[in-house]
Subunit: 356 residues, 4 copies
């Protein structure tokens, strides 16, 4: 299903080339001011058409709020937003029901929905559905900020070009602010050019490229989460894997910790300015599934965009023969930059839900 | 919370040195034969004390079934099992409330539970709580097998020693069977000695070491899972992160796909013996969150056991001063071998829940 | 929250005088034809302004389907509908934040939402929010009908005027069809005049009147539901109490059975045309929480509309003094006739969810 | 399923004549003292064998706490209790798989579970399963009491003998205390004899008799619950219909309000000792699904015990012929007195879950 949460319910609807997409956020408490301009900034970070890393498809993506916010303040009723689909070119997708695109949901959706799903533009599986997720996250993170919790992510790698990682023990408000307002979020801005070259090179080859995104949640109260199936890692994963193209997630040292000894990986405790902190943050701010007050750090692996114009092998489901295919239409050679605010939104949704 | 699932509810209870641990599995359909000997094999794979990689603590870990199975057949009522705690040495843990062990839940649990949690042996956070998870998985996978679904995992790495990965496109029944009955599950048995040396070397240093586990779910029907928040990746992650010490998960090519181009990462479709298959399995059997009929493949990162006898820095929560600590007691220098059946169990629980 | 269900999620949003109201129905399988004319019939049955029992407020209440239905067939994606609020007269409600109306949610909502809720027209608590519920029910019942399950309700009483009850053992398709297409659904049409007189008499007095609605679900497969907290009674109740003004529910003989002996109340089994049936249906088609194949029968108590023009005692929350109030504006003196399709919709939603 | 709750999970397991019954209560916060003697009092109120209204079957029903309580204080881990089944006489039930008892779950369970369910003593459908529900309620209500919330119920009717109803506006601590410690809870003790005669008369006739139970939750904070599907009525109903034999529930004036006019049914607000109260409590303490600070009042209808020794008509599922049956064994002619603490427990579970 396309609904997330226990204490809140975020219900995402819509198909890429249908009437509209949107989301309902049920369970948001009343009395919080929501700055709609800040919401639009987040949606703009995700919006396509800003530069060569993104699809040239232009959308307005203006979220019309149907309920739940009155005079800029949450009313306690579900917050519903609708984003009309205005710029749709459906002719491109006509033969996809027959020839599933490798790396896409075409084949699995065809089997699951018996051919009744809306294939145009990927339908409900389209990356476009991340727009309402960003909307939901942009609303919820404003409330989290009033509780002292900030969320920031950056492109940690594209192809083999790496940004610096967060210093897990110390992430400044300035850095968070810069990342939150950037369309190409980086800790070390100097790698941007190389990353763009990597994307451009793939684009010229009719190909695409993947990457990773690192995200930090700063200001978490100690004691959120719980043992076994209520751990923070599981909750965030459930939300983050809800984003198309995510194929891996790791917390703190993550897969690196698998190569380490305990003496290297354990984070020493110390008192600092009267507070218990850890000297390092290999645990990503989570011990026993519960927040320890340090930044929560995770990285998500984003696979290369499956839509490529290079010729690929596929099958014809009608003739039951092998065939080839080249994906036409407007596609991002690399979705990682635009996925940064989506990852932040998923984190915001998960954290909000956990805080109850 | 310690309860998992939507269509089934697996509720795990108990504290390491309390009266008993156990699980209730609610929602299992009636009429399935359960071979209790097969359940005991899985529990034995997880049980400690088998060799030098594991703690010498001896336990019987015999699961007493209280309800839900009559004459070896499921009755439709919740299946409850109780495992008595018999061999507990609590004196070892007396000062942990004051001096939290690095890498453990001691500090976060102390804050969350206000010092009321049962600290003895890690209480509800103990690795011992994975015994009822294995029980639940061992019951559910027998039902999955009747539907043609098999699950097998192996130690894919310990420290820097690697086992061969699964061939994602083809995993034989023989291999599955071998892995399912091994206490040190490997695809390529020749690496066992090196792995054991790695563990033994850590043990001698009063240290520990981490690793990774790779798991395959073979025989999945096509069309299970769904878009956005109902994807298979999210469901499996929620269960797998329920296992203490897991800090990362990736599906198919996972983090490797972040370095790739789409043309390398997309899995070509082809007709093979009348069925649509993919030539490679970089997607780990999941496209758009939905199973495509190929084996579901994931890898979990297991951090090194935090309990080490080497001296570590910590704090005294009473005196509010920095101090040091050396963890005494019986601990595994590497929990990866014993975690293999636990990962399989978590996968079984998640898959069973998804099948509805 | 305003979200219902486990296997489906029905998320209702909107405020009476806000931009729009609507619903998202997540989890509806693909491939079912939905006749939108039939949906409109159900919405028309609930719509106000048809006669003197209803408010003269005219609305178009046209549900715009945003996603999930393509060319009249469900696509498997969430079905979202938006109903614009066009005919709103908000001036009437200006002083309600200060003087809560007896019998309304004004006071409890004021406390819960700290005065931030949208009070206009009752906001999210308005009976208008039952329109999207009817939409959801009208879609889902078409799918249920394809599985042989029909749902029909009637006004079983208004004030002290009673309709005949369903014959629990035998409900004809003709009766179901008649009830499903009536704006004043009765088993025995001859009581309509007396019922209308009762309503009209209350209206003339500036007062209102309550009633009961009886609902039948015919064609249920045997074996749906389950023991303890998964019983059909609980599931239907959860949905039916979701409708404003419902204050009681009973299944089969319900409260009457409390006066009976077991020998009167037990339903004798017999073989009839090769099928096991019961001679009577005091259990309302439910034994041990599970359907027995007989019609599921329940009755809901609807309290009199709290909005009355008669003077009532209330408090002024600002001055903290007692005061009086007369509710102005357009209100139904009896909502029971319009509530009939809403009860049917709630039953459809609950049954659909239970069928998984 | 046999699991209840969102913020807590109460998972009830066991079969009447199996190894044991019990419950796991997941999600209880740490640090609350639990007086086990008070728990035993509640279990004793439910226990059979006290007098002629109850079955002579003697049970110890001693709940062994496996986890979650250490030195009388909740630890934050799931609270698990196991009650061994010691006094089981299974021979009585041998032919029930063939001849389903009218009014019982025998037939529906047979169809649902394909004959694999444990039929002995009713298996998982047995009234005995209410013992762990009472255990769970008895634990949770002690925590509720620390928050100022008290719960009390009484037999409001047996057959046609009625106790006085609660004065919904004012329920004294003394009355609550008396009811909570009685095995035959009545507001007006003088009706006990007539009620016992009604039961005894049914017993002598080889028959049984039903009744109603009225329950009050006093001290509810204002603002608990919510609109539509999160109303208090729905939450309590879901828990109360989880109790076998409940066939109806009403809140406040309930079905009576269906006969009334709004001017009679609306509860006037007034300031009393600086607090907003209502003069009457026809709404049962709930407006718009939300608590208004007055006692929450509901009544549940309990059907007559279906097990009667009188001859009844049934079918033989093997021969497919009509036949007759007389239920032998030990059965309560009226379960209403013993159901009082069960209703209180269900209310406690529902309220606790709602408070989050």
């Amino acid at each position: 299903m396309s609904t997330f949460g226990k204490n809140i319910k975020v219900s995402v609807f819509g198909e890429s080339h249908g009437e509209a997409i949107g989301a309902v956020i049920d369970g948001v408490p009343a009395g919080f001011e929501i700055d709609m301009d800040k919401v639009l900034v987040q949606m703009a970070r995700r919006a396509p058409g800003k530069d060569k890393t993104a699809t040239p498809r232009l959308e307005k993506d203006f979220p019309r709020v149907m309920s739940g916010i009155l005079n800029g303040v949450t009313t306690g009723a579900p917050i519903a937003c609708v984003i009309e689909n205005t710029n749709t070119k459906s002719a491109d997708y006509s033969n996809l029901l027959e020839n599933p695109r490798p790396g896409h949901s075409d084949y699995t959706a065809f089997v699951k929905y018996g051919g009744n799903n809306d294939i145009r533009g990927g339908g409900h599986f389209s990356g476009r559905l991340t727009a309402p997720i960003v909307f939901a996250g942009a609303v919820l993170r404003q409330i989290l900020e009033k509780k002292g919790i900030k969320i920031a992510a950056h492109i940690s790698s594209i192809g083999n070009v790496y940004d610096s990682r967060f210093d897990g023990a110390e992430i400044s408000d300035e850095l968070i602010d810069t990342l939150n307002n950037s369309a190409f979020s980086l800790v070390d801005g100097s790698v941007e050019e190389k990353m763009r070259e990597t994307v451009e090179s793939a684009r010229k080859d009719g190909d695409s490229v993947g990457g990773t995104i690192e995200c930090a949640v700063v200001g978490m109260p100690i004691g959120v989460g719980g043992p076994l199936f209520s751990g923070i890692e599981g909750e965030i994963s459930k939300a983050v894997f809800g984003i198309p193209s995510v194929k891996g997630i790791e917390f703190g040292a993550g897969f690196d910790s698998a190569h380490r000894r305990g003496s290297e990986n354990n984070d020493a405790f110390e008192y600092k300015e009267g507070k218990v902190v850890t000297k390092t943050n290999n645990c990503g701010g989570i011990l026993g599934g519960i927040s320890n007050g340090m930044p929560i750090i995770f990285r998500a692996a984003i696979k290369p965009t499956p839509s490529i114009s290079k010729q690929q092998e596929t099958v014809n489901l009608k003739t039951k023969e092998n065939t080839t295919l080249s994906v036409k239409g407007r596609h991002d050679p690399c979705i990682v930059p635009r996925a940064v605010p989506v990852i932040e939104a998923a984190a915001a949704i998960a954290i909000f839900d956990m805080l109850g």
